[in-house]
């Protein structure tokens, strides 16, 4: 039970008095702020982080272009947020669980998801782990401890609390990180998740990417408070706000959060202040709700350039290395994209599998009827007909129109 001091005047406290500082280590020119300690980040790990950032950026640029060419139905970029996502993922054990929202391809890249694996999901082909059921960018990997993305926002946040509680009981010394946007933090699921985590002392890191916008809604229309961070106090939870474009600050803060979560069973909230430089998705046009000038200000705070300057200061990176990495990755993306595009769609039977552990008699009947129908009209269902009789539908048809 909580005991409080007594007062005898009606004095109200107000959220206005609340403001939380932002932790920063690395300045834009690659130097360290005075009084800031450099985190313990060795060369190999630093380069692994940087490499993942470039992988993510190259993938995003290329796939948005592919979407514009009509080769892909939909895409979402993480441009501008690479340090927030990759810096936090890098501070974890590679076996810790990641529950992401949808803009965290950087964390997957860091864990070693290959271009082929990305592409198979993006094109929903027969090699897609999700069997072509979800829109592009809904990745998942059991091997890399990355829970498959679900589109309904914030649903993963209380699940992360539960997953982490299970990890605690299993005693493996692992934790869960859950990513979400400042928009998703308005959902009831967010509040339920923090409360349960605090009460049940789950080793979970709540990582809010506060990138300023939820589609067109600016954060000032999302909440009246000083961001998302102050909410942690209401649940009696540890919290830190970091410069989300500062790789060293994000890395160090998440490292410390992991210690609190795993050693002390204290859930932690991290609010990373960053900016969604790209459109919300390939179906969105931000010129309808924000100015180019505002975007330019943030372009100057590019997290990748900032990290590169630091690496150069340390003598760990130079122009030649940059050039050859970029060229190699660009070629690799194109090559894997072509491969993934050519792969056939998942077989027709995949329509009814995984609904239950076993296909029920009703589903089997429905599938049989569908097969009968497609055999009568193979030309109308080239994808389905292909797995019934590969000769029937040799020509590819792509009639996607784009989603949200």
């Amino acid at each position: 039970m909580t005991t409080t001091a007594r007062t005898h005047q009606p004095e109200f406290l107000s959220g206005d008095e609340f403001s939380i500082p932002t932790y920063g280590v690395l300045a834009q020119d690659g130097s360290l702020y005075e009084g800031a300690d450099e985190p313990d980040l060795d060369k190999a790990k630093a380069l692994r982080i940087y490499h993942s950032m470039i992988v993510t950026r190259v993938l995003d640029e290329r796939m948005l272009a592919a979407q514009r060419q009509g080769r892909l139905s939909f895409y979402m970029q993480c441009t501008g947020e690479e340090a927030a996502v990759i810096g936090s993922a890098a501070a974890l054990d590679d076996d810790d669980m990641i529950m992401a929202q949808y803009r965290e391809q950087g964390a997957l890249a860091y864990r070693g998801f290959t271009f082929d694996e990305f592409m198979n999901q993006l094109f929903g082909n027969e090699m897609d782990y999700g069997k072509g059921r979800q829109m592009p960018i809904h990745y998942g990997s059991r091997k890399l401890h990355y829970m498959t993305i679900s589109s309904p926002l914030a649903t993963q946040i209380p699940q992360a609390t539960g997953y982490a509680y299970g990890q605690k009981l299993a005693g493996e010394g692992l934790c869960t990180i859950v990513y979400f946007g400042e928009g998703a933090a308005s959902e009831g699921d967010f509040h339920a998740a923090l409360n349960m985590a605090a009460v049940h002392e789950a080793p979970v890191i709540f990582f809010c990417r506060n990138n300023g916008y939820a589609i067109s809604t600016p954060s000032v229309e999302q909440f009246a408070a000083d961001g998302v961070a102050p909410r942690a106090f209401g649940y009696r939870m540890h919290v830190i706000r970091v410069d989300g474009n500062d790789i060293l600050a994000v890395y160090r803060a998440t490292q410390r959060a992991r210690e609190l979560a795993v050693k002390d069973n204290k859930p932690v909230l991290i609010e990373a202040m960053t900016y969604r430089l790209a459109a919300h998705s390939s179906s969105d046009d931000p010129s309808g709700y924000r100015s180019r000038k505002e975007e330019e200000v943030w372009r100057d705070k590019d997290p990748i350039r900032r990290m590169r300057s630091w690496l150069e200061h340390k003598g760990w990176w130079d122009d030649d290395q940059e050039k050859s990495l970029q060229e190699r990755l660009r070629a690799e993306v194109l090559e894997t994209m072509k491969r993934a595009e050519k792969r056939p769609p998942p077989p027709l039977d995949s329509l009814v599998t995984d609904v239950y552990a076993d296909v029920t008699p009703a589903l089997q009947r429905q599938l049989d009827q569908l097969k009968w129908h497609i055999r009568r009209h193979p030309e109308a269902y080239p994808r389905g007909a292909r797995s019934l009789d590969p000769v029937l539908a040799s020509a590819d048809n792509t009639d996607d129109q784009g989603g949200e």
Partner: protein, 325 residues
């Protein structure tokens, strides 16, 4: 009469309702200055101000709970849920609160002014979570009305009727048709009846019933069937709850055959309710079993969407099966 698309028709309806009655408010995620992700609320904030048309925080249970409170107070909220797939976080507010306000208070309070708009349905490569048709979940709940328009003319007239209806209304908009369905729509104010189905084409051999985006698909199937000499009667149900049993029963008494189609999964879909009721009323007049053409009993897929969806060919085969029974 101007030729406009369904989004423009919906925008016109909202504009008319807001101009006429200052208690009408429009809100939801991205609804404010941006005009909604589909642009159904474009320019309304400019015209009526931020107090009457605004962005909400991203929380559907909050949006509907807030709307329930507003409506109980006497305002006329038109809340937008960005996609019907995301109406479920608000399920409790709709099913336990919206639907039961009047009943549980003995009519001391009601939320009759409330309209909830949500884009529903597939055919846009939206995959699992941008394609669902959730009408049947709500049809199991007495106390709300459920309306689905099939074209711009219907959308405007039915939305205006929904906003002015004395009961809360869920208004599901077929998003595949938002820009694809274009038609003549009068600029002035008009309403279409809620709870009445419409016979959109008369015929004598078989009755086809659907709603929303399926109506276009039915028309395509009917064209093919008529080439085979089958005379089809087509009915747009328009209101899922309450639904117009009489119009369908009358038609089936004449044709003796019925095919019902919807995109949602078969089991527990609204076609099941229609076929049970019609079978009770028309048993001795039926020449063949009532056919249902529906989505599979699975979640909505992406790559194999075309295979999953009930289309004109599947409806045509059902018509043939019914006629040749």
């Amino acid at each position: 009469m101007a030729t406009i698309n369904m989004l423009q028709a919906i925008n016109q309806a909202l504009d008319i309702a807001m101009a006429e009655d200052e208690r009408v408010l429009c809100f939801g995620e991205d609804v404010g200055s941006f005009g909604g992700v589909f642009r159904a609320t474009s320019h309304l904030q400019e015209k009526y101000g931020k107090a009457r048309c605004f962005n909400t925080p991203l929380v559907e249970q909050g949006i509907v709970g807030f709307a329930n409170g507003l409506a109980a107070q006497g305002s006329v909220p038109v809340a937008e849920i960005q996609f019907a797939d995301y109406i479920f976080p608000a399920f409790d507010q709709i099913v336990n609160e919206t639907a039961k306000f009047r009943y549980r208070s003995g009519d001391l309070f009601n939320v009759g002014g409330l309209t909830i708009r949500a884009p529903y349905g597939g055919g846009i490569s939206g995959g699992h979570y941008h394609s669902q048709s959730p009408e049947a979940y709500f049809a199991h709940t007495p106390g709300i009305k459920i309306v689905v328009p099939r074209n711009p003319y219907e959308a405007k007239g039915l939305l205006l009727a929904s906003i002015r209806d004395p009961d809360p209304v869920l208004f599901f908009e077929p998003k595949r048709l938002y820009r694809a369905a274009v038609g003549e729509v009068p600029e002035e104010d008009y309403q279409l009846p809620i709870g009445e189905a419409e016979v959109t084409k008369e015929g004598s051999d078989i009755t086809l019933v659907g709603w929303g985006a399926q109506m276009e698909v039915i028309d395509k199937a009917v064209e093919l069937a008529e080439k085979e000499g089958i005379s089809c009667e087509v009915i747009d149900l328009r209101s899922i709850l309450p639904w117009d049993e009489d119009t369908i029963a009358e038609s089936v008494l004449k044709t003796g055959r019925l095919v019902i189609t919807h995109e949602a999964p078969r089991t527990g879909g609204f076609a099941a309710e229609i076929s049970a009721a019609i079978q009770e009323r028309c048993f001795l007049y039926l020449e063949s079993p009532i056919e249902r053409v529906t989505g599979l009993d699975t979640p909505f897929p992406l790559t194999l969407e075309k295979e999953y969806l009930p289309d004109h060919l599947k409806i045509l085969e059902a018509i043939r099966a019914s006629v040749n029974f």
